[in-house]
Symmetry: C4
Subunit: 196 residues, 4 copies
């Protein structure tokens, strides 16, 4: 089975998720600075979610370069990931509109946690298929996913008491994922170099 359509569909869904989030930035009726001020937290929530979807798209891009064939399990694990990501616009909008209140920040963390788990499942399934054992091994060694899942879990509990702290944690985990791109890039490069 061909992976092109899975990639195209995932690209489509992620492109739409990233773009409809901006619809939560509701156009205000007034034209003063004070009319646009309530949108500031929504804007920062949007920036954070944009970065997260960017990271997932980026990693998805890398991950599927090591995949040659797609089966039913990969298709559904991928759909589960897209489902989790599709809840981001709602969580982003709720968090932004309520100026980082406890419950919305908790829910936002929960969605990030679920997306992380979905990503974990997808990676594990792809490793099990062993379509490319060397990349699989490299992926396996990467403790980033498990660490992130644990951090998200902690952050969601923290959110019930100090939501601002959780927001900082979410942003820091984004940084953690932003940097290791290069590590994986190198891993993929090494593997394809060895294969050539």
């Amino acid at each position: 089975m061909n992976k092109n359509r899975l990639e195209a569909f995932s690209d489509g869904v992620m492109a739409i998720i990233i773009t409809i989030m901006v619809l939560e930035l509701k156009v205000p009726h007034g034209t003063e600075l004070k009319d646009i001020q309530p949108l500031v937290p929504t804007f920062f929530a949007y920036v954070l979610s944009f970065i997260y979807v960017g990271i997932y798209w980026n990693n998805h891009h890398h991950l599927f370069q090591s995949v040659s064939h797609v089966n039913g399990a990969i298709l559904w694990a991928n759909l589960f990931l897209l489902f989790c990501l599709s809840l981001l616009p709602f969580a982003t909008g709720w968090m932004g509109e309520n100026h980082l209140d406890e419950l919305p920040v908790f829910l936002y963390g929960l969605v990030l946690f679920m997306a992380c788990i979905a990503w974990w499942i997808l990676v594990e399934i792809i490793i099990r298929e062993k379509s490319n054992s060397k990349t699989a091994e490299k992926l396996k060694c990467d403790p980033k996913i498990r660490e992130s899942a644990a951090i998200y879990l902690v952050a969601t509990i923290v959110a019930l008491f100090f939501p601002i702290v959780s927001c900082v944690i979410y942003a820091l985990v984004a940084l953690l994922w932003f940097i290791p791109d290069k590590r994986m890039e190198k891993a993929v490069k090494e593997v394809s170099g060895e294969e050539e």
Copy 2:
């Protein structure tokens, strides 16, 4: 005529359908648990619809692997399927917002029934084109489509009296379609194996 653009267009439409459904999860104004509670049925309606679009996308993916050329009849049958699926966000939103009342559940079933019929027509047209007779034969034997159409019809009538029962039926049919993916996958694999 080339099938790539038909696949790309269908992927696009299905990706958008799956994503705009989440817009029906309207961001609540409060931040208490009770503010988010009315969204629970909408959330479950969303999950069900997401799975249905996932199933259709998955089967669409499989079906068009057995198609080499696309003609006007296939194009329009495909557009009719996309039309039926495009009504899902509306039906999902209405069903979710009204806590599974009779008429919305009836309409949801009607949309599923229409989508099933549209799928049936598409499969029949592709079989008639006999672009790949072996897959066509396998597809023909599959009684799943006719069974589902009949079940949807019964479920829509049941919806007028016991909407909850219909919702359970819709979920069960989704399961029925979720599993046979492997059957068809196998069929396609056999065929391509024989051709090699």
Copy 3:
């Protein structure tokens, strides 16, 4: 210059246009038949617009099969067509919500007229590039575009007095375009047959 991205972008825009039109079908608050009745004209307007976008996508698909290279003129003519089509959701929503009143039906016709002119310009530019002179000749002979443009113009004027009549005309022109697909399909087939 490569035509793949132009096709992909056009597919994307048309897929989104076709899908966001369904957002005009606003989820009603009640669950009675009478709550859904006001949506009936919007539904029919949606069906008509869906068919129109389907026709344009279909013809776009055919037209660009005869194009090998894309230049700035084609890119911008294509963007102008997409712009005209992007006004369809607005025109559809306004017409549907106001039960086929004079001005909305007039505007809907105006959008169809503009899209038709945009299509004409695109076809003319592609003919002038003479990338495939035989298909170009066939396209040139096709009087359908000029006829449709004239009919739309008449229908928009009629709309100011008898909007229902205009709606029937819009539907009939859709039929006129629905059928000649085969004519053009044949033309393209002949051309590619001669070239092989």
Copy 4:
């Protein structure tokens, strides 16, 4: 790393941005000419933004033809550009709904300025990668980006006093970018001609 998915994802995001802007044209409830009149500035804002996204898509198309490999830096510079463009629908809606008031026109200019800077960064990164040194050189000589950035900055300040003047400036810069397409087209053609 392959550039196809980056192109597909960018096409998707730009296609959605261009299309959701039309959602800011809210369907009016009345059917008189006076009901549609308040939408006129929104319509012109939409036209301007459509042209801008068209220009960016067009240039993106050209730019990536000179790119053979994509790395992390290019991916993120591209995402930053898409982020800036994703703010256009909001800025367009705010500007249109408030009949070209000072602050909305200022914000619109700011978004254009940011998108221009993001484009600049993307071009610089691609030049630095020197994947195709001749195109890179040609790109480098092009003073258009720096000029535009400066003009936008001036226009945003002007907007606080004479917003109409700024709107005219934004439209003129669009023209400036609309024309040089041919210059770059020629550059790319020359380069590919020399390479053949």
